[in-house]
Symmetry: C2
Subunit: 338 residues, 2 copies
Amino acid sequence: MTWLGLDIGGANLKAALGAGWARSSPFQLWRDPDRLVEALRQLIEGAPPFNGFAVTMTGELCDCFTSKDEGVRYILSAVDALAGSKEVCVYLVDGRFVSPQQASELSLLAAASNWRALAQFACRWAEGRNAVLIDMGSTTTDIIPIVNGQVAAKGLTDTQRLGNRELCYSGVGRTPVCAVVQSVLWGGVDYPVAAELFATTADAYVVLGDIPEQARASWTADGRPLTRANSMQRLARQFCADSSELKDEHLQQIALAVRVAQLRQIEQGITNVIARMGAEPDLLLLSGAGEFLVRGAVQNRLGSCPVLTLSDKIGPVASACAPAYAVAILADEVGAAR
Amino acid sequence: MTWLGLDIGGANLKAALGAGWARSSPFQLWRDPDRLVEALRQLIEGAPPFNGFAVTMTGELCDCFTSKDEGVRYILSAVDALAGSKEVCVYLVDGRFVSPQQASELSLLAAASNWRALAQFACRWAEGRNAVLIDMGSTTTDIIPIVNGQVAAKGLTDTQRLGNRELCYSGVGRTPVCAVVQSVLWGGVDYPVAAELFATTADAYVVLGDIPEQARASWTADGRPLTRANSMQRLARQFCADSSELKDEHLQQIALAVRVAQLRQIEQGITNVIARMGAEPDLLLLSGAGEFLVRGAVQNRLGSCPVLTLSDKIGPVASACAPAYAVAILADEVGAAR
């Protein structure tokens, strides 16, 4: 049995096969819930043959749904429409695979399960030791303790995980700058950030050269491409200015303030999670689009701990769709034993 | 000559006549710039006769425009289409009225001018004394020093005004909760707010009973009406939860955290502005939808200072469109002297 893993998020759709084929696509689920089935069809078009779908998700939190239960059911019905006669299994945050019917009934366990799939998958590299998995994506960062080679997360739901810092709801793409930085000092004046969704963290990282431009991105704050010029304008607008009104060095300082603030958030999260593990980790496992930033955070806090990156282990293509890849592999290994 | 004042914002359109007729309407300019002329036509439909338009704006900052200059020109061309053969005058942040042609050339002086119109208008109640005008709206708060009965603002542009705290980019309606509050403590756990635009400050104030429900509001974070039930769900979602997962008292604590944080912001802004005035104010002038909150802030900081509200002076209808009313009156008084 060959499973195609699906990771259905609110801002991105990801699909992967254990053999290595993988694809991701930005999709603003909260704007276009009606288009989900069509978007999933486009996503898996041209995939090598497979027998069934293994599903993990986070998109149920989108506010096009009146509740997470409604969101889980909606996403499962979209997968049902996609799957036709193919089998579907759904991964729960407690590590079980269940049928879509059972997952609908256990919707709060099917909600926000992708971190758990990735962590369970990543345990193989811990080889019985203690490790921390840090997966920083466009929107959120998961910091998952692994103790004696087993997932040792203290929280199951995202709310619990926010509370214990295993979930840091901050990422290197879509995170509003106004939620990360309160004010930026330049030219001797401390300027508060306008409380408005004018720019996101990706704008800072493009200006700093940490991530490449994306000429076709439309998920930015103003819907314009992720280019250096547009990012500078978006960052300037956070201070009610046009980029032409600010000096280049001041725009750099704004971007740097975002990086410093996110580094601190991640460092603080790692510190909290390790403090509860009761032992130093033997290994750090990094993944996601924010790996470049997490690397800085762990160097500051845990400079001597060995670091493994998921892209080194499974390659950059599968790594970019890591939870989808993980759930495909787990379904092979675990799901088949149902 | 009778002028109709227009205040063209990014989220609200306001129109008023000096004789007292006034109307405001939510309009998300950044989503629908093509509909601006039509929306303005609907806004002024049924207004008593008048001869010309007096214009003030803030909508040029919307990110549907690539720059503030483009925004000012776009808004002025919409007014031109609306006005037909009627005269148009535009208020600048330096207090002058100019023609649309001149305003286009001086676009950075025509940008974000509505605070200045309101402050200049409000000076009449200071009667030569020192005062502070605090106008808290749905999105921003202006804190304007008046010295010896004259506008004594130290900043002209919104960027300068952010820097010196005369502009606090935070309001009681549309402000993202994630930009106001970093975390909320309940049940013995400190929960960080998800960095996502799931709820706005209005949700907190509806839950607290500070502002009424609005059954037809669509400017909320998820586009659903501003009802207590929807607001509770939106606030819960800021912590990745459904409202049914949280206790009522915890939702109250979330809402209270928003109020406390905004109170502090406003208090800090008032403190900074007064510190630079060099003298205690003899009078506080309050206006805007956030008057209820500002009242609390000034009681904390300046309990013994006399308070005047704009709605007491010009009535609640005109007060709800205060900058439009102000620019209509000023055009009569000042504009006629051009």
